[in-house]
Amino acid sequence: MTTRASWGGLAISFAIAGLASFAASPAFAQAAGINQADTAWIISATGLVLMMTVPGLALFYAGMVRKKNVLATMAQSLVAAMLCSVLWLAVGYSLAFNGDGAFIGTLDRVFLLGVGMDTVHPAASTIPEALFMIFQMTFAVITVALVSGSVADRMCFAAFVWFAALWLLLVYVPLAHWVWGGGFLGAAGLLDFAGGTVVHLNAGVAGLVAAYVVGARKGYGTDNMAPYNLALGVIGTGLLWVGWFGFNGGSALAANSRAVYAIVATHLAACSGALAWMFCEWWTRGKPSVLGMISGVIAGLGTITPASGFVLPWHGVVIGLIAGASCFWACTKLKLALGYDDSLDVFGVHGVGGFLGTLLTGVFAVGAISGGPTGLLEGNSGQLLIQAYGVAVTIVYVGVATWVLLKVIDLFSPLRVSPQQEIEGLDISQHGESLQ
């Protein structure tokens, strides 16, 4: 990707120096307005975000389950990537990003009908439309994969495949359209740079609902469910962390200073989130755990996501600190108080992070970076209300739609494996394989 980025930069240098003009040469003919630096960066960012799901999230999640469920947990991330990519091409992209209906897009781009070498999307007019399509595809993939963490150790693979396909189309696609694709939340002025509502709050709420509907793991609260291999979790965290540079930086949809600001704020939030979680745990539990550190990294990253691209670097530090402390509380106190078994804390990390981050965007947004919208710190109290409105709509729609969807799937494909299969482990019962 470095090579591609430098080629893009090289091309720009040539154009500026007037030494060569690729656009004038028939061999390099392309649509007016397509910028090679932007294109190179978004190609790179697309690769980074896909890497977040496989192997990033697959490792992060698999490291936290028991040994008998490691492959099954990875299989859920894999199938999310495979299935959601195909469905995104078939219909998801068109319904999410084509047309400006308040609630859903159109079917005009089904199977990429009309997407050509020289077409662009209005939201990203300097990169090829096919690149915009696949960049957005990687967000859909990871959101579906994120949900799987809440039902790890007990969900039937067949039911998860149904869930991944239907949830993508009935929950992710509409929400992406509402916020980013021309729908009513974007029109209302909701600020969500890279997916505080669309990705993290969405996955977190869906995960919470799924944890309740599928039910707690057998032996939850009594059996030892210690993670199989936290070293895998650390590797996965590293891949997610770096991938997040593409996730948030790429959401600028251009190779510009805003992308750089998003990356700087993202990295600082990851660090401060991890520090906050580490010190909270050290103080209250006596020891700073590695699981706590990596959880804090993801909490900081999830929380900065909607705000990155709107805020200053030091805002990233503050948002990360709030994220680390709040998600620590949610995972260690709130979860126990409410009694739900969200196996890998999708709600406690992503749900709480997306919730906080979306609201904090309304506090910290800086006009000079956002190119217009401002937050509470710059005297605009109205933005916070819009953010709260977006959060409320997301929670209600995702909560209800996910609940109904799971209940319907359960009618024809049981959500949960049998108790015997659960004891035996999902690797052998669902996939016929096991780690030795």
């Binding site: 030892n224 469910m225 210690a226 260690t332 126990l336 804390d345």
Partner: protein, 112 residues
């Protein structure tokens, strides 16, 4: 003939092996095992979920020796494996009724 079975802390294995080699013991069998005694287990905490780990990792070594070596072997193991902390382990000694070297068919003390 005696069979000396010693349960020791895993990180003491090399010191015990060196000590036994030094007094002329030329073979042993080693297994990684789990168990508990007075040390009990410990508690692990993962995002607020506490798990009691009752079985701690130990190493069990088995040494077959002639009767006259027994006291020296026991002393050597104690000297090498002792930290003074709870959880240092135990030594059990039993009689061996027969021993055979599979390759040659040698019996009893000749087989050790």
């Amino acid at each position: 003939m005696k069979l000396v079975i010693a349960i020791i802390k895993p990180f003491k294995l090399e010191e015990v092996r060196d000590a036994l080699t030094a007094i002329g013991v030329h073979g042993m069998t080693v297994a990684e095992v789990k168990g508990y005694g007075r040390q009990k287990g410990h508690t692990e905490i993962y995002r607020g979920a506490e798990y009691a780990v009752n079985f701690l990792p130990k190493v069990r070594i088995e040494v077959a020796i002639s009767d006259d070596q027994a006291d020296r072997v026991i002393e050597a193991i104690i000297a090498a494996a002792k930290t003074g902390q709870i959880g240092d382990g135990k030594i059990f000694v039993t009689d061996i009724s027969h021993a055979v070297r599979i390759r040659t068919g040698e019996k009893n003390n000749d087989a050790l």
